[in-house]
Symmetry: C2
Subunit: 169 residues, 2 copies
């Protein structure tokens, strides 16, 4: 019987919806800010987009991988991977080598030039992430880690058929 206002009946057990406290909104804003700040580093310096960045990092991490493998690991649709790979190949940062056991796919890996850029970029990216996480209280870091895992997991449960496009399909 203690309505807060006439037009917004927000029942006793239901708190009001405040955008600035709404978790999906906060996650989006936070991720967007972080992502923008990071792309400053690689976009301006190496003229690559998010997809190319992910291909580069995945190949730097695994040395040799198929396009499909890159897609799975970096949560990107095969068409996006295909185009990103093509772009990076044009710039001679990666090479393809046929897989004789399955001629549909090929193994991709960084060229020395690609490896050079990766070796230059990786420490900068790690440093960026370090600067971010350093502002989070040390006691909170593991909690953040767990929370991100749970939230992603739960979203998929709540909408089972969503495409896990990782924001860059």
């Amino acid at each position: 019987m203690a309505d807060e206002s006439a037009h917004r009946p927000a029942s006793a057990d239901q708190p009001a919806l405040k955008l600035e406290e709404f978790l999906p909104y906060r996650l989006t804003v936070c991720a967007s800010l972080v992502s923008q700040a990071l792309s400053r580093i690689y976009c301006e310096r190496y003229k690559i987009g998010v997809s190319e960045w992910r291909v580069l990092v995945t190949l730097g991490q695994f040395d040799m991988m198929t396009a499909k493998g890159i897609g799975v690991h970096s949560q990107m649709h095969k068409t996006k991977v295909s185009r990103a790979v093509a772009q990076i190949e044009r710039r001679k940062l990666l090479i393809r080598r046929a897989n004789r056991d399955d001629m549909r796919e090929s193994f991709l890996s960084l060229t020395p030039a690609g490896r050079e850029i990766y070796d230059e970029l990786a420490p900068i990216a790690l440093d960026f992430a370090r600067q971010l996480i350093d502002t989070v209280d040390e006691a909170d870091r593991a909690a953040l880690d767990r929370a991100l895992k749970k939230l992603a997991e739960r979203s998929v449960q709540l909408a089972p058929d969503i495409v896990n496009s990782g924001g860059t399909r």
Copy 2:
């Protein structure tokens, strides 16, 4: 002198860059999954996009506001607000009332029909957020809250001129 491999010199104090552990990547993937799962609810049911959703929620929260105010509160660029407002107005979910003290702007508010949709949507959205946060250990929730604040803050410091477009400019 204990290199892990010949080609990836990952110096002793610098851990390797793993995409799946890289915070900006994880944030993007998580936010994208959450966002997609949520839009299932309002996109399919009410045929509105993220910007329209934010306008609706902001007006539901504040009753009356200018376009500029909506932009500030929901982190959207004025052009995006303008178009979202126009779309929602076309559907007669909001009305404009001139501000006689400053004829450049006008006060926006929900019509009864708009309020009806809001009253229907808000509890669903809150319930969605509840279902998400419920999977996060209770002890971790405050930490997540603090972490998101710090991360957003730090990103802006690291790239001072980024536009806080909240993922939907």
